[in-house]
């Protein structure tokens, strides 16, 4: 059953320098208990997308399309309903846990706060639940009395996860939950997330710029470039056999240690990331694309199924592997 469905979501920031189209028509779907990874370089609109899910963007931002959470459109909900949905149905884990926790309030209070707000537990019950949550993420219950600054980065990130779990939401959105963390701590947090997802059957959207991390955690991957999804599909497939040149470059940036092919041969992608306010025409990746065609500068692209057998279903919601590159279409048509 579909837990979350995005239909042609577009987000445009209003700024003094002009409009910034940060997300430009993203369609995605997430089934219950599924883990979706969203990858992409800095500025490609990943966080914007995550924030739009709960309508947390600045007031004057333009959001269009549909964001269906359990079939209900988040964008048209009343504020009251939205507040009820927030955290109870979907919760967020931010990138910088040191800033996402209120520094002057006790950890326990912060974890219990959504419980109180949503009327799920108060008083002793809330305290019990807090202790339980802390233990779930591997922290001793007495930490509830502490303050965020008394914790290390990894511990704080775990507090954030505990907080996200508080109302037993069906969807958790984790925006770069491990980026600021050390290798070893990163491994700890990732394994925690993995086990929690598996145990509770929660839907997960995980955002990262590290494709290898996503590949190891998520069932499916979506690669974003300049506000669009340019490739999506089962994670193994996208990671090992990306069809979009950008996806390929991203995957190639993480060498497998021990693989002689990558020894003394770092792979990378030339050129500059695009400025969202001044995007190239046609396929917005074409100026950096090693295999671009002349037509790429003008012809629009859309997500085409990579699997030749599969019919070109509605873009993005295909179960299979799709990529927004003319070569994919050309290959298909060549068959």
């Amino acid at each position: 059953m579909t837990l979350l469905e995005l239909r042609d979501v577009a987000v445009t920031y209003r700024s003094a320098a002009g409009d910034v189209p940060a997300v430009r028509g993203v369609s995605l779907a997430l089934a219950e208990g599924e883990a979706l990874g969203v990858a992409g370089e800095s500025g490609s609109g990943k966080s914007t997308l995550a924030m739009s899910l709960l309508r947390l963007l600045p007031r004057d931002t333009l959001v269009s399309g549909e964001i269906l959470l359990d079939g209900e459109d988040v964008l048209t909900m009343s504020w009251g309903r939205l507040r009820a949905v927030r955290w109870a149905s979907a919760s967020l884990v931010f990138q910088g846990a040191q800033h996402a926790l209120n520094p002057v309030r006790r950890i326990g209070d912060q974890i219990a706060e959504p419980l109180r707000v949503h009327g799920m537990a108060t008083g002793a019950a809330a305290r019990r639940r807090t202790a339980e949550l802390l233990e779930q993420v591997g922290l001793p219950a007495w930490r509830a009395r502490g303050y965020p600054h008394e914790l290390s980065g990894g511990q704080r990130q775990r507090v954030m996860i505990a907080m996200a779990l508080a109302c037993s939401p069906r969807l958790i959105v984790a925006d770069e939950p491990t980026t600021a963390l050390d290798v070893m701590i990163q491994a700890q947090v990732l394994s925690l997330i993995r086990s929690l997802i598996a145990e509770h059957g929660i839907g997960l959207i995980m955002i990262s710029h590290d494709l290898s991390v996503l590949a190891a955690t998520c069932d499916r991957l979506a690669v974003m470039y300049a506000g669009r999804v340019v490739e999506s599909g089962p994670s193994r497939e996208v990671f090992r056999d990306a069809r979009h040149p950008y996806g390929r470059a991203l995957a190639g940036a993480f060498p497998a240690v021990g693989d002689p092919a990558s020894r003394m041969a770092p792979k990378g992608l030339g050129g500059d990331p695009p400025d969202p306010a001044h995007l190239p025409t046609g396929c917005s990746f074409h100026p950096r694309c090693p295999v671009s065609l002349v037509s790429c500068a003008s012809e629009p692209v859309e997500l085409w199924p990579v699997d030749r057998t599969e019919a070109p279903t509605e873009a993005g919601r295909a179960e299979g592997h799709t990529a927004a590159c003319v070569h994919v279409r050309v290959d298909r048509e060549a068959r």
């Binding site: 007031r59 009343s78 504020w79 009251g80």
Partner: protein, 581 residues
């Protein structure tokens, strides 16, 4: 409001505004005019100036006589005078008071000099006071010493730290101090057992204002009934109010400039750094010619003064006043001033500034005034303009009063300085400030010279008048001294400021000045004006205190209402906040 308006006789209250506050309630320590005035009203003195003639008249001393050696004075203390606690006033009280000042250094603070010359003070019996002096003392009948009750004050362990703040204070004057809120007010009540009979009002409140503008506003509004000692602008600002009487009479004061005539110490060593040109009497006279005293009066004193056509004794003292007449009078005449200076060889340079004869130092002089005195500031502006016209460049130096006193009286670091003096009925002291002997010692101390003047002729006249017992002859001598000062010009009298006061006629029915003819109300010597005060009878109860309270209640209510409104507003907002973010 629970303000019981008892109908029986309304208290007669007069409220006096003062732009000074009490420095001390202890008469041994207090020096401010306000304090000495209030003490005048609280305590009896041996003598008091007569309200008509200003000559000494009996107060606590009924009568007195001097021994032929002029060293022994015997006063007879009034019988029937009592302290406000009922005990009789005795010669012992007076003797104790004087002896205290003579023997206790702390008690000398206010009136030490008055008893400096005393040898012994004794009270052979309750009515007889005998004072023996070391040298003859003419001012014996003007001792500014309040007599305090021995039975109260002998219990005071340390006069220097005693505040005298127990009320009602025990005194023998027309009023009894019953309350003092520091820096706010002093409340005085009529003394029913005063030997002359109780004053005509019930209470006299003295209310302190720091801000003269506020005091004026208070008078207009009726917060106070009377202000003594107004500055000319304040006096002017009160014009046009039908409820006010503006009291404008001749004053005791003369305002003058002192010109450094080549300062020297008492022993004749030159000191200071006065401009050499000022040693030349011609330059001093030229400066005198350059000053337009009429304009000065109009501009600086708002016309509320008399231009000085004489010297340092104001015309209020008709007997001693000397007026320059005929060709002796120095008129405002810049051309004449320029002529004198040209003739004397002070040539004008290209910049219009003169130099000393034969070149050299320019006539650039300092004008020393007090900081924070708008009148002197303005005066300096005028002087600068006029003297520039005769080729003398003036820069103004503002000095705090310590430095001013030091530099113009001790170390002589001045060229021209502002000065002024209130003159007592007997002008001897004011003339003495121009004697050679008043010049400081080599270390710049002592003295009390007003000009560093040292003139044989003046000196001779002074000695003569000391010995002259014939009054008209003495008056003549004193006039000649003034003439000498006028022509030699170590000081140039500018104007004689008027005494400016105002009171509400809807509150004060009558008040007798001192002297009775066109005299002073507040600040004159003696207690006559406040003793003679009569308040307007009012039928309506004094509403003032309760109106204040009413307004306060209104203010508080308004604040509470506003608070409630704000609270309500936030409530309302909260209700609608559901659809906002």
């Amino acid at each position: 409001l629970p303000m019981a308006h008892a109908s029986p006789p309304q208290k007669k209250i007069v409220r006096l505004g003062a732009t000074q506050s009490m420095d001390s309630m202890n008469p041994f320590l207090a020096v401010r005019l306000i304090s000495t005035s209030i003490h005048r009203w609280m305590y009896g003195y041996l003598t008091v100036p007569d309200p008509k003639t200003l000559k000494p008249s009996p107060d606590l001393a009924e009568s007195w006589k001097t021994a032929p050696d002029k060293l022994t004075w015997t006063f007879t203390i009034r019988s029937g005078a009592t302290w406000s606690d009922g005990r009789p006033v005795t010669a012992g009280d007076a003797a104790w008071t004087f002896n205290k000042i003579m023997t206790d250094d702390a008690a000398k603070t206010a009136n030490g000099p008055a008893v400096e010359n005393f040898d012994t003070v004794t009270a052979p019996d309750d009515r007889t006071l005998v004072i023996k002096t070391k040298k003859p003392q003419a001012s014996m009948l003007e001792l500014p010493v309040p007599i305090v009750p021995k039975h109260v004050w002998e219990r005071v362990p340390d006069i220097g730290t005693f505040e005298n703040e127990t009320y009602p204070a025990v005194g023998s004057g027309p009023y009894i101090a019953v309350e003092h809120s520091k820096n706010n007010y002093v409340k005085l009540r009529a003394n029913p057992s005063y030997w002359r009979g109780a004053p005509g009002i019930d209470e006299l409140h003295v209310i302190f204002y720091e801000n003269p503008e506020a005091a004026n506003a208070g008078l207009k509004k009726g917060d106070i009934d009377w202000i003594g000692r107004l500055a000319p602008p304040q006096f002017e600002a009160l014009a046009g109010d039908p409820n006010l009487v503006r009291w404008n009479t001749q004053g005791r004061r003369a305002g003058y400039l002192q010109l450094n005539p080549g300062a020297a110490t008492a022993s004749g060593e030159p000191i200071g750094d006065g401009h050499p040109a000022l040693k030349d009497v011609r330059v001093r006279r030229a400066i005198h010619h350059a000053i337009d005293k009429k304009t000065l009066v109009a501009q600086v004193q708002n016309g509320l003064a008399v231009p000085a056509d004489g010297s340092i004794i104001p015309p209020m003292y008709r007997e001693f006043f000397w007026r320059a007449e005929g060709d002796k009078a120095v008129a405002f005449d810049p051309a004449e001033a320029n002529r004198i200076l040209d003739e004397a060889g002070y040539a004008k340079g290209s910049d219009g500034i003169r130099t000393m004869p034969g070149g050299g130092r320019k006539l650039e002089m300092r004008f020393s005034i007090h900081t924070e005195d708008p009148v002197e500031d303005k005066l300096a502006q005028f002087l600068t303009g006029w003297l520039r016209d005769i080729g003398i460049q003036i820069t103004t130096r503002r000095l705090d009063s310590n430095k001013f006193t030091e530099e113009t009286g001790g170390t002589a670091l001045y060229d021209i300085a502002i000065s002024g003096w209130s003159v007592n009925p007997d002008p001897e002291e004011i003339l003495a400030t121009h004697l050679c002997s008043r010049r400081p010692t080599a270390s710049g101390e002592g003295g009390g010279t007003e000009s560093f003047f040292c003139d044989d002729e003046f000196e001779r006249l002074y000695q003569e008048q000391l010995a002259e017992l014939d009054r008209p002859a003495r008056v003549e001598l004193i006039k000649r001294m003034q003439e000498r000062l006028y022509t030699e010009a170590p000081v140039i009298a500018l104007y004689y400021p008027n005494n400016l006061e105002s009171y509400r006629k809807d509150r004060i029915a009558s008040i007798t000045p001192i002297p009775e003819d066109k005299g002073i109300l507040y600040g004159g010597s003696g207690y006559w004006p406040v003793y003679s005060l009569r308040a307007v009878e009012r039928e309506a109860p004094a509403e003032d205190d309760s109106t204040g309270v009413v307004w306060a209640v209104v203010a508080v209510a308004a604040v509470v209402l506003a608070g409630a409104g704000v609270l309500l507003l936030t409530r309302r907002r909260r209700a609608t906040a559901d659809d906002r973010e």
